[in-house]
Amino acid sequence: MSLTVQSRRQSLTPELTRLNREIEEHAREYGLDFYETFFEILDFEEMNMVAAYGGFPNRYPHWKFGMEYERLNKSYAYGLHKIYEMVINNDPCYAYLLECNHLVDQKLVMAHVYGHCDFFKNNIWFSKTNRKMMDTMANHATKVRKYIDKYGLDAVESFIDICLSIDDLIDHHSVFIERKAKPREGAEEPIIIKKIASSEYMDDFINPKEFMDQQKQKLEEERQRRRRFPEQPQKDILLFLIEHGPLETWQRDILWMIREEAYYFAPQAQTKIMNEGWATYWHAKIMTERALNDAEVIDFADHHSGTVAAHPGQINPYRLGFELWKDIEDRWNKGKFGKDYDECDDYISKREWDIGLGLGREKIFETRRVHNDITFIDAFFTEEFCHEHKFFTYHFNAERGVYEIADRNWKSVKHKLLFSLTNFGQPFIYVTDGNFENRGELLLEHRHEGIDLRIDYAKDTLRNLYPIWSRPVHLKTLVEGKGKMFTFDGEKHSERKTDG
């Protein structure tokens, strides 16, 4: 490991150390609560490397990091973006500062980082994350390197390639579900074979014993066959593959690591808007109320406005989150919620509503503890907010060949926003049968919610699943409203109609 935390930590200049102490103090006084946080200073190449590694100084070798690194380096070189800060959800927290930044930027970044650190520590969706991920990542890297030494780069890399194809097939809620080995419910019903009605003395002739036994056996086999595996559709397909796929030990281990990393990163994607908004809220607060000196105001304003700039066709999570937090604080300070407020239909008095409740600060701290992006938007994205901040939905106008604004209806904006957040905008895929047609084949099903899958990608994904399962893999979905099943049998793709 060429970049060590220990050696670098010393390199915070005396001036930055002083500033850091100052800002940390401000943050604590505001009530932010975080693990101990270490800052390191990196030059832009190191920063890009760490960013390509997802924030960590050390990852397993794989070209995808090289790809990301190149992208970051190029866009930095062309002046398209600049990473100001990065922070790792870990205990202690590690954060990085870019060497060439102005002091005012470093102050802002520090304040921003303390916002993130507070969020990591206190938001419930992070409560199950591995707080020693720094070490775990390094261990993963070591293990993969060992496997490469043993089995060769090509074998290991190709397997990781395949895993990347499916690393989003996890169940983000499963970490909160405690699964117990549950006994099968109730005793199985006895098998009853229908008899042809007959009088008792004729029974042996009409329903002969051999035939009846045969029937019974047949029904039992039938039941055996129908016994589902998994019993319930399972969304954590990675786990299913790890548990049931015929993998080599090292492959299972790698798949396990990839799953662990996917679960580690999941809450960050789940709370992007809240988390960035929270950090932005706090850097604004700390800087404007405490840490800024007169000479720095313009630079701060410039940087801050860049962070929260609106781009017409996109949602800027920093901006949306920041504005929502401010809005929540304001509403709870003034008491703009509840029955009286909701039922008031006078525009003026609603707008100037202020019963001096002063619960704003308390409310945002509570909110940052229990919500994720979806519930956050659902609970706090109000009609007033939507109009005030000029949200709209857009669609593609095929006639004009451009994207254009569709409407500003609050409900449809919220609906679209929530939909894009649901399952991170990814389709819901479940494994429903690990013994499909009693031939040990794998059946996945797509829960169709109005948008078709991209078929060529889906087929290639099936192709990548095959080496893991070693038997034909199927995917059931809807294409243009009609049920379809796609299959890859190890050599070729095929598809057939299903009834839905």
Binding site: L3, E45, M49, A52, N58, P61, H62, W63, K64, F65, G66, M67, Y69, E70, R71, E157, D161, I162, L164, S165, I166, A269, K272, A310, H311, P312, G313, Q314, I315, R319, L320, D373, H389, K390, F391, F392, T393, Y394, H395, F396, N397, A398, V402, Y403, E404, I405, V413, S420, L421, F424, Q426, P427, H446, I451, D452, L453, R454, Y457, T461, N464
Partner: protein, 369 residues
């Protein structure tokens, strides 16, 4: 310090090189490339670099945005996040990667993939040119070329060494020895001249699809020839019943309708060459694309005559590409092949669809002149 990630980066580059080779055919026929950046860089999007996963198709579902405008106000294309359609969820993946290659590298890859022999620069066309580049730093020079940053650095170094630097009061005063100036280096480079002349039939039977094929094909030809010659000149001629010289923009976008008199283009072409590009100084490449539906047999004879006696002796290569069209008889290519069989600098190629572009370039440039 060597970063860990260098290995991953090199590995990625290797894969990209390999990937380009495999997918080159697909690129060419899909036409998904083509941005020249700076002087001699192209950027090539490789959208397939990401591993496939289960995802939604049909990206035109729209999304949520923020800003001014009434319903119906169009958004500028750059504003829309086409991939995720306004996704706030920060879905992982979905990188579109631009890989910059120098023209040199690209031509290398093309040459490997297409198995093209190199075109040799021509005898008397070899010129040497000298160029001054301000790429050096010197301790002496005129004040107007003073390099501020280097000078500052030197002064800073000196003051730190001398212990006169105070971080709380960081005044840097350069003295004479600190000053650094930009300086130049003279580079000689061989130069040879090439003319590429594209002719296209824009008569009523050439549709948008046909023009698109021409566009993609000529880009690749252009790219490849650019790397083998300095100072490549491209000229464009369009013709229906009459020929005219146009700029690139017009060449690729015009849709005319009218009859087809191919000889008109050949005559104009000959005129341009005779007046401006003497063959002993220029490598000349001519590519002509048509759907092969000439107006009359008499004109076709005239074309063949022009080619035989005037054009072919002057040029390194004359490529005729016939784009498949629903209307044309496509007779012209057969006439050429039947009547001019012995000229080794005439190459004909049939391009039935986009898939054939790759083969067609091989036809044209596989010979090498």
């Amino acid at each position: 310090m060597v970063l860990n990630i260098e290995q991953d980066y090199l590995r990625f580059r290797q894969i990209v090189r390999g990937r380009i080779k495999q997918d080159l055919k697909k690129y060419i026929s899909q036409g998904e490339l083509i941005g020249k950046k700076g002087k001699d860089f192209v950027s090539i999007p490789i959208p397939q670099i990401e591993m496939p996963n289960f995802r939604f198709g049909r990206r035109n579902t729209g999304g949520v945005g923020q800003g001014d405008g009434e319903p119906g106000t169009p958004l500028s294309p750059g504003d829309v996040d086409e991939d995720g359609a306004g996704q706030a969820g920060n879905a992982p993946g979905g990188h579109i990667l631009e890989v910059d290659l120098t023209m040199e590298e690209l031509a290398q890859i093309l040459a490997e993939e297409l198995e093209l022999p190199r075109i040799q620069p021509k005898g008397s066309a070899r010129l040497r040119t000298e160029r001054d580049r301000y790429s050096q730093i010197s301790k002496v020079g005129p004040e107007s070329l003073r390099h501020f940053k280097r000078t500052y650095k030197e002064a800073l170094k000196r003051q730190i060494t001398a212990g006169t630097y105070d971080p709380l009061n960081p005044y840097i005063v350069p003295i004479h020895e600190d000053k650094r100036y930009l300086s130049w280096k003279t580079k000689q480079r061989p130069e040879s001249n090439a003319l590429i002349l594209y002719m296209m039939d824009v008569s009523g039977s050439m549709g948008d699809e046909q023009k698109d094929i021409v566009r993609v094909e000529s880009f690749w030809i252009d790219t490849w020839i650019q790397t083998n010659y300095n100072g490549v000149v491209t000229r464009y001629i369009i013709h229906d019943a009459v020929a005219q010289e146009v700029d690139a923009e017009t060449f690729f976008h015009t849709r005319e309708s009218g009859g087809t008199v191919i000889s008109s283009a050949y005559e104009l072409c000959l005129k341009i060459i005779d007046e401006e590009y003497p063959q002993d100084l220029w490598n000349i490449y001519i590519f002509h694309f048509s759907d092969g539906d000439n107006w009359s047999g008499g004109d076709t004879d005239r074309c063949i005559n022009l080619l035989k006696t005037n054009l072919l002796p002057r040029v390194n290569l004359f490529g005729y590409g016939q784009v498949e069209s629903t209307y044309g008889s496509g007779q012209f290519i057969r006439e050429l092949e039947n009547n001019i069989a012995d000229a080794d600098n005439l190459v004909t190629s049939r391009i039935e669809n986009r898939e054939d572009i790759y083969q067609s370039i091989k036809d044209f440039l596989g010979k090498g002149k």
